[in-house]
Amino acid sequence: MPNLYEGAGILTNVKLDHVSKYFDKVIGVENIDVEIRSGEFFTFLGPSGCGKTTTLRMIAGFYYPTSGRIFFGDQDVTYLPPNKRNIGMVFQNYALFPHLTVFENVAFGLQVRKKSKQEIREKVERALKMVHLDGYGNRRIDQLSGGQQQRVALARALVIEPQILLLDEPLSNLDAKLREETRVEIKRLQLELGITTIYVTHDQAEAMAMSDRIMVMKNGVVQQVGTPEEIYNRPNNQFVASFIGESNLLEGTVEEMDDRLVKVRISPELVLSGWKENAAPGVQLKKGEKTTVSIRPESIREASSSEQGEENVVRGQVTLSEFTGVSVNYLTRVGEHQLKSMFVNRGFRVYQRGEELTISIPKESVYFLG
């Protein structure tokens, strides 16, 4: 039998070849066709129920696709049993072994690989330390808090240093500090060992920060695959634009257009101009035609009084003011539209509901979605 476990050095790109999965009549995912490169950190992103877990489970071998094939490298693994795949997986529901202690849970995969007692002990302890659970080895799983259980699940998957790491919301129950640390740790491991990592998260910031590439899904269908910057700055469609980070999506008509600049009228009070090249792939802007403009809230600035009346500077009324610590978020009414904006908390004065606020929208932040 091939020793899959001595994986170091093996290139493992994961290819989903037109994969679909139906549950009876319910669509799990449909026609996913993507290749995840060896050693890549790849993220599945999408709203709840869009098929992330389903896809992950097919890669792990717990579901067989209804149609399509899955390859690891050249090998067709569509029907290969999970234990032959040399994967490590963190399950969304942890799937810990209730009858084993924390230590035994983490040690499980190493025992399967017939490591020596000594090695197991060392590795498990290192892994537990990594997730800040040193000293918890002898606890029963039901004596742990939710987050602690999640960390055990994580340690259990990481300790075996698999060739492919499948992480299904592995940090969802951890606090920001711990997430941060664990993220760094996962990333480090991934780079060090060249592990191909597939990551599911509901946290876009996390996805942005960690991923080499991101696949955005919706209702089982892939919307866009690309680097974080591509996805954030050049979304394929409205869904991606609004799903990844906040976005003001405004519909308007192209009023003027030259080689570089496009001017769009959104409403009588609101005209925005932006660079022509800032358009989603395939979007053809034409004078007089409808277009949708996307503006990130954080790109909006408070305008100084001197800017009043300049291009892309508008005045409105604050309808919601929300303090988040790092920033203050406003909803500002301009005509019939509500513009979201986010100002970083730098000790500026905080506008309250009802106050007037003048905002400026930089031209380079106006993006045309067609």
Partner: protein, 577 residues
């Protein structure tokens, strides 16, 4: 790809492996041995029975069935109705007592709980032959309790006595509530405690929680035990006989056979199995409507809180009373084993006591042979049951394949048939060499009895294991696979320990049943393999009633030890105070 690795395998080697195990038909490869064995030991004899019933003078005819259902002589129909009626009532009473005891003993911690939770299983160790008699001694017209009341109230006649359907139900409840008790205990242990908490947080009272959450969640366990109880009640013989309910299916079969009406007997057996199968199908349908698998994220905390003091003592007293009542017939056996044969006549309690029965037993060098035989044969059968029953349960619950229902039916049938019929089928099947017996004549050898126990008690392990598997979150197994564990490794390290409570329950039931088995044993035992039940029968047959009782007490003691050890092994540590 993979060229950088330095090992010698090639993708094609992998492919070959893959093509077998990954094929959608692989599961059939897995389950076909199960079917094969069942075919040999169940279908084949049963089919012969059916052929016998549907053949008159070598031609196909449903004459026997017409006769069975004819309105001219309704005794068959009456018997069918009585059997069904008794069986359903038995399921209900056993369910109430069994689940009630499981609730008290699993959910409350009080001094002596551990002892009680062993004692509560003892009734299943009651030796069938003398066991039923002890009810007579206890509640019959001349029984201790009616006579005690008579003496106490100064009446001329006993105020009450157990007879008829009530009597049957009492005996059935007593001997079979353990199915419910044990499967329900295992299920309660495996129940996600956070479900109760969720219900309570939504405002549900204890009672409401039981009705809407716990009992429904126990469905797999209840279905399992209901099936076991229903079927064995259908096949029950002695209890109805003793309490004068003579118009039952088993009695009809017996009579047909003594009359030499073999084809009618076959017809009746077939109908009996059909009723049981129908019940099985209904229960399966009911069970499949819903999902019982634990869905919570992570592992829930077991509640460590002690309930109110009052509740604690009420629970203690209730379970104490329960256990006392359940132990009474056994205590009567003990009493009888110490009383002089024939001396106990009109008195409430025996008047003359003696150690002679025990002296007789312990001075006879052959006393231990039957005991050793029974333990050995039952142990072998139980090991087989565990191997086969757990595998079958796993296949039935976890694998996807066509013919699941069939598998289920096949496994359950031997339990649904009267023991005599099973014994006779086995004799018929194995008195000549056949493929299924590896070309051996099994009749007259040691192996025929373990085989009978195996076939007959397989449903116990199968049922109780599938009940826990249905409850168990399957993602733990997936986790094991994802960590590289082969199917077998993850089965061994994850599925088996997680399902252990259920498997143990089944194994214990099977083992104890094996030790007590009589009806089939008497037909197939050899002089080398006299089981304890046959030995007791022989003592009774020779009118050594006291010695028979002493023997029975010995058997109970040994079973008690087994139960106690198993209790220790299973480590009853889910409730900590």
């Amino acid at each position: 790809m993979y060229s950088t690795s330095n090992h010698s395998w090639t993708p094609s080697a992998m492919k070959r492996k893959t093509s077998i195990t990954s094929s959608p038909y692989f599961v059939y490869v897995l389950v076909s041995p199960l079917f094969l064995v069942l075919l040999a030991y169940v279908i084949y004899p049963l089919f012969q029975t059916f052929i016998e019933s549907a053949q008159i003078d070598g031609t196909f005819s449903l004459q026997n069935y017409l006769e069975f259902f004819s309105l001219k002589n309704t005794s068959n129909l009456e018997a069918l109705w009585t059997s069904i009626y008794i069986s359903i009532l038995s399921v209900i009473t056993c369910g109430i007592v069994g689940v009630g005891m499981a609730f008290l003993l699993e959910r409350y911690e009080f001094p002596g709980r551990k002892i009680l939770s062993v004692l509560v299983m003892v009734p299943m160790s009651l030796p069938p032959l003398i066991g039923v008699l002890s009810f007579e001694f206890l509640y019959g017209k001349s029984g201790i309790i009616p006579r005690a009341f008579q003496a106490w109230l100064g009446l001329n006649e006993v105020p009450f006595a157990l007879s008829g359907i009530t009597g049957v139900l009492v005996v059935h409840t007593f001997t079979m509530y353990t199915y419910f008790y044990m499967t329900a205990s295992a299920a309660i242990k495996g129940l996600d405690p956070s479900l109760e908490e969720a219900a309570a947080s939504l405002g549900a009272s204890r009672f409401y929680i039981w009705r809407r959450v716990i009992l429904p969640m126990l469905t797999p366990a209840m279905v399992a035990s209901s099936l076991l109880v229903f079927m064995i009640s259908m096949a029950s013989y002695t209890a109805p006989l003793i309490f004068g309910v003579e118009r039952t299916m088993t009695m009809q079969i017996y009579l047909s056979r003594t009359n030499g009406d073999l084809d009618m007997a076959a017809t009746q057996s077939t109908i009996l199995s059909i009723v049981s199968i129908l019940f099985l199908l209904i229960m399966r349908w009911y069970q499949n409507i819903r999902n019982y698998q634990n869905m919570s994220k992570g592992i829930s905390v077991h509640r460590t809180e002690v309930k109110s003091k009052v509740g604690k003592y009420v629970a203690m007293i209730l379970s104490l009373i329960g256990v006392m009542i359940l132990l009474l017939p056994i205590l009567v056996l003990v009493l009888l084993s110490f009383s002089v044969d024939g001396s106990w006549t009109v008195e409430v309690l025996p008047t003359e006591y003696t150690l002679n029965h025990y002296i007789e037993l312990f001075t006879d060098s052959r006393t231990w042979r039957p005991i050793a035989n029974s333990f050995e044969m039952s142990m072998i059968a139980t090991i087989g049951n565990i191997l086969f029953g757990v595998a079958a349960a796993y296949a039935a619950v976890r694998l996807k394949f066509k013919g699941k229902t069939l598998l289920d039916v096949l496994i359950m049938i031997p339990w649904a048939l009267p023991g005599t019929v099973v014994g006779i089928n086995l004799i018929a099947a194995f008195s000549e060499p056949s493929v299924f017996s590896l070309n051996q004549v099994l009749v007259g050898t040691f192996w025929i009895i373990p085989l009978a126990y195996f076939v007959r008690h397989l449903p116990l392990v199968f049922r109780s294991t599938s009940a826990v598997l249905l409850q168990m979150d399957r993602s733990a197994e997936e986790a094991a696979r994802s960590l590289g564990a082969s199917w077998w490794y993850s089965f061994r390290r994850v599925v088996f320990p997680m399902a252990f409570s259920g498997i143990l329950v089944g194994a214990l039931l099977a083992f104890v049943q094996g030790i007590g088995e009589f009806v089939a044993s008497i037909l197939i035992y050899t002089s080398e393999t006299v089981p304890i039940s046959v030995e007791i029968f022989q003592r009774m047959y020779a009118f050594e009633f006291g010695t028979a009782c002493a023997y029975g007490v010995l058997q109970i003691l040994l079973i008690l030890i087994v139960l106690f050890i198993s209790q220790k092994v299973s480590g009853n540590n889910n409730i900590t105070v």
